[in-house]
Symmetry: C2
Subunit: 437 residues, 2 copies
């Protein structure tokens, strides 16, 4: 059974603090192994990547077979059923439409001093997307990572996806094709991250690497950060559901379980203003756990990290949710928009009783790569912004420099940066000479 807390009880604050600070993930320390793999790939290039793929994925590749050919991809895509293809196409279309709206605008203006100022957005030139192999090889994640990159205008987009023993998920290749990915490499692990960051004779380096992966992939991404950009290092997934008594307990139970079934370290929290409803949901979870395919995983997550919290009212529920800063937040209440006004920290909000979180995982449109482990306090989900960068622009006229240059010179002197001041002064002196003529 998960913890059952009531805010009205005197020891609530202690118990809630314990819930907030529970360490849900014990990542193995693979940093030394990863450092050695990266060095190997930097030194020996393709040979290292091929050797490590043979060792870890039991797959013998050559430089010519590191990437799938377009024909191989077509053959795999042909295996996908019409129904699955239609679902993936709908998802791709909706995710693209949502992310199209995220494109930020350039700006340029002239201010009162006569200075022209502004900024300009430009895409990262090349991006690499990591896609895990095996069970965690999710076609939906391919769409969620690749589509924002293409919308941003990334010229060259590649995927690294291990294919243990040669096995590949056709839906992953179809998702890659629908999203406009250029090349799919049959490689994974730290060796794939190293190859994408540093390049080999066959694999061109990229500027940004995104996508989830195991402890080796995460450690490798941390190590190559700086050389290339990376996205966040995702932790185990979370959902917090705020629900009043007017919900079907089974619906809410399924929403909680759809997070719990991801991973034994996932966390599902129900916050309700009705203790009876809280108990009914907990009972519905137990009932569903009797038959759920992934009941071992979901059951462990719910037992170890799940929680039901009963609050005095829904405003208190919103305040608690802000302290959790959940990755996913469902507001299953009569006035979800009103309650959303009180939410300050959450990765994604699902409004109302008809918006199960799973909609957002696939076809809603917003990205499903979201900040975990309370990092919604300071970070955002994946978006086109992750594949763009801003260049600021300034252009002075002689008059603008005359107006604001003396203040720059003054501040440079106060910071003991003489050449800074002189670079302004030399130009101001020229203006003064012109005027004197």
């Amino acid at each position: 059974m998960p913890v059952f807390l009531t805010t009205a009880e005197p020891d609530f604050e202690t118990a809630f603090a314990a819930l907030l600070s529970a360490k849900r993930e014990d990542a193995p320390d693979v940093d030394a192994a990863v450092a050695a793999i990266i060095d190997d790939v930097r030194t020996r290039g393709d040979a290292a990547v091929i050797g490590l793929t043979s060792k870890f994925d039991r797959l013998d590749l050559s430089p010519e077979t590191l990437a799938f050919t377009q024909d191989e991809i077509s053959a795999e895509c042909a295996k996908v059923s019409d129904e699955d293809r239609a679902a993936l196409e709908l998802a791709a279309e909706r995710v693209r439409a949502y992310h199209d709206r995220q494109m930020p605008e350039d700006a340029r203006w002239t201010d009162a001093a006569g200075a022209e100022l502004g900024w300009r957005w430009s895409p990262v030139s090349a991006a690499g997307l990591y896609v895990p192999g095996g069970l965690a090889s999710y076609p939906s994640s391919v769409l969620m990572n690749a589509i924002p990159a293409k919308v941003a205008g990334v010229e060259r987009l590649v995927i690294a996806c291990p294919t243990p023993g040669g096995a590949v998920n056709p839906l992953v290749l179809l998702a890659a094709r629908l999203a406009g990915v250029d090349t799919v490499y049959r490689i994974g692990g730290a060796q794939a991250i190293a190859a994408l960051a540093y390049g080999t004779a066959t694999i061109r380096p990229v500027d940004k690497i995104t996508g989830p992966g195991n402890a080796y992939v995460a450690a490798a991404k941390r190590r190559v950060f700086g050389r290339v950009g990376i996205d966040m290092i995702a932790g185990p997934s979370e959902i917090l559901v705020i629900a009043d008594r007017d919900n079907d307990p089974d619906w809410i139970a399924l929403d909680l379980l759809s997070q719990a079934e991801h991973d034994e370290s996932a966390q599902s929290i129900l916050v309700t203003d009705d203790a009876g409803f809280g108990r009914a949901v907990a009972a519905a979870v137990e009932k569903r756990l009797e038959t759920l395919e992934r009941r071992a995983i979901a059951g462990a997550s719910w037992r170890d990290y799940g929680a039901v919290i009963v609050t005095r009212d829904l405003h208190e529920a919103a305040a608690l949710s802000n302290r959790v800063a959940p990755e996913h937040l469902e507001l299953c209440v009569a006035d979800p928009d009103g309650l959303a006004e009180r939410i300050t920290h959450a990765g994604a909000i699902f409004l109302g009783r008809w918006t199960p979180e799973a909609i957002g995982d696939y076809v809603g449109g917003p990205n499903h790569v979201l900040p975990t482990a309370r990092s919604a306090r300071f970070s955002s989900g994946l978006s086109v912004m992750d594949f763009l960068k801003r260049t600021t622009i300034a252009k002075m006229t002689p008059a603008a420099l005359a107006a604001i240059g003396p203040a720059a010179e003054r501040l440079a002197i106060s910071e003991s940066l003489e050449a800074h001041g002189l670079s302004v002064r030399a130009r101001l002196d020229q203006l003064n000479r012109r005027e004197a003529q």
Copy 2:
């Protein structure tokens, strides 16, 4: 003398690649020391911070004197000359006006399926700004970090600034006051970062930490990342100037030196389509180096990492600049806007002969915290976005769920995530029952 390269020469590519990959910074490995300091602050709180401040800064504090009082700040601010105050006020006003324009907009729309989608921006609740003590204590950096945070709407903004032996720069405190900083702590080093990230009895934790610092500060920021957000870890500064022959060589020399004087690891590169002009600038640099206050630093930077590159034309110059992806880029040419069209990677562009980079350090308006070490390929300068996060929003109606839910269910099944599918199916079944009635 710096390297002097010509693109027309056969060995250019090799020499340019060497310039690109030159390692300019050899950061000492202080990670173990920093880990111990962070543990100490987490365990002993204020007592650890006070002890470490006594040891490293030769300053004895108590919980009551960790922060400056408002009266103490007022007394320091009163020491600033009217001229310096006016310059700082002009800078603050211009930086605020620029960053005001960066505020992104919320969005909400209903799509063809009847789904309401959108996003909402919200500020980080509390941010901490690190300000180095001693020589590198720059009031301009206080403005550049604090103003975007306040524009974003950060509620609580604090500074940690070591005051070795009690010495403080009055301009730093004035900049903090002008920017609206709430509290200034007299602490520095890894202990300050640990206190800001984890909190002590006296110091409340923040959600995001920004600002430059020494190797200890940088290592501490890396370690607390995840617990809180951090900005980039800045490397040594760079400038690349593209200049034609119609510039005063002395102006360009001063622009190059204004980067070189920051740090022996700074890098200044001139790219010109005129070899004679390149030689004239190199000569002007040598002449200025005879008298410049910081000639030891600037001379070492110019000698070790400086470069003059002669290209066939300005288009080739732009292409080379894109490979460097410089932090600062000056376009001192007849048509700077035209040439800027060809620039794909740069932190900040300074257009035309009347826009020395130093203007951007102080009073231009754009931020002077910019991506170094070629990271402009994938990242941007500091902005209000660093203090905001985006929450995505989705709201389904029964009709919208009926339209797109089956595709979500289908994809959930293909990913073997049964509860995901059931959470959608339970709702669809209810709709079907309604219709059947």
